[in-house]
């Protein structure tokens, strides 16, 4: 595929998905900061009096940090992660994707599965336990995932697409319903 047709296809796809923002590249702190500053002003222009802008922004940041936390930094291609934020009449959807080491998957999957099973009340209890626990080597202790689940109010969807013997592509989707 030529670059022109690839760009066109990406554009068609993103417009169809009503993308507010899509980014594919290296998620370094500066790129993320610029991205977030931009999306923050976009969101606050859309959601003037609903407070939704802050919720979406907050979930978005946790999703991005989740990418950074679990990204496998291999070759140049493997450093490229992706982020998509789209909006429909009823919800905002955030999808992230990044390369991950296969040996990291079982523990992460377990966390995601645990969070997916919990009710809103149980999620809050788990949040409490995690926030009050002493910092460990795993400096975030899954608080991000719990936070995403609480704030989005919807079940997190995820997928691991095996790429090589050692790596996979980790996709995470979260939806935030728009308050009526």
């Amino acid at each position: 595929m030529t670059y022109i047709s690839a760009a066109f296809e990406a554009h068609q796809l993103m417009s169809e998905k009503r993308s507010l923002m899509s980014f594919t590249g290296h998620f370094d702190h500066l790129a993320i900061t610029l991205l977030l500053t931009n999306i923050k002003s976009k969101l606050s222009a859309i959601e003037i009096t609903t407070g939704m802008d802050k919720r979406v922004y907050s979930v978005l940041v946790e999703c991005i940090e989740n990418v950074c936390k679990h990204s496998f930094h291999g070759n140049e291609k493997e450093n490229i992660a992706t982020l998509l934020l789209s909006k429909s009449e009823t919800k905002y959807t955030i999808v992230t994707g990044n390369h991950i080491m296969n040996d990291e998957i079982p523990a992460l999957k377990e966390k995601l599965e645990t969070v997916a099973k919990l009710s809103p009340v149980e999620l809050k209890q788990m949040y409490r336990v995690q926030i009050l626990s002493k910092p460990t080597n795993d400096n975030n202790a899954g608080l991000g995932i719990i936070d995403i689940a609480i704030k989005s109010g919807n079940k997190i969807k995820y997928e691991f697409k095996k790429l090589t013997k050692n790596t996979s592509f980790y996709l995470l989707q979260t939806e935030i319903s728009i308050k009526k």
Binding site: T33, G51, K54, S58, E62, P135, N140, L143, G144
Partner: protein
Amino acid sequence: MEPLIIRGTENSPEVRLDATSNRFIITGKSRPENADKFYAPLISWIERFEPILSGRKQDSDGNPIPVFKFKLEYFNSTSAKHIAEIIIILKDFVEKGYKVKIEWHSAKFDDDMLDTGKEFSNMVDLKFDFIEY
């Protein structure tokens, strides 16, 4: 005691912990690149503030009650852990009989920030003053 003053940035909050002027505020956005590193001096400062509080306790009244103001527009989950750590220290001060207050500010319409404050308040069983801005 030397004040701790940190300028706010696009990612990190403005901090002013000043025993002399009796101002204690954390305000802005908190998504520092390294939250552990950012919050370590704050936590250490608040811990070192204890002897001053304890000295004040023996004073007859007249010393204004230290009010710790949290006026955060946004914070990430890693920062939340450190904010909780600060609140736990303050709760510990209260349990020791020192007079300390917590003000939790949230923007109008920002129910999530208000709820987080309420959650923190319940979590440590300490009354906060909630203020909308």
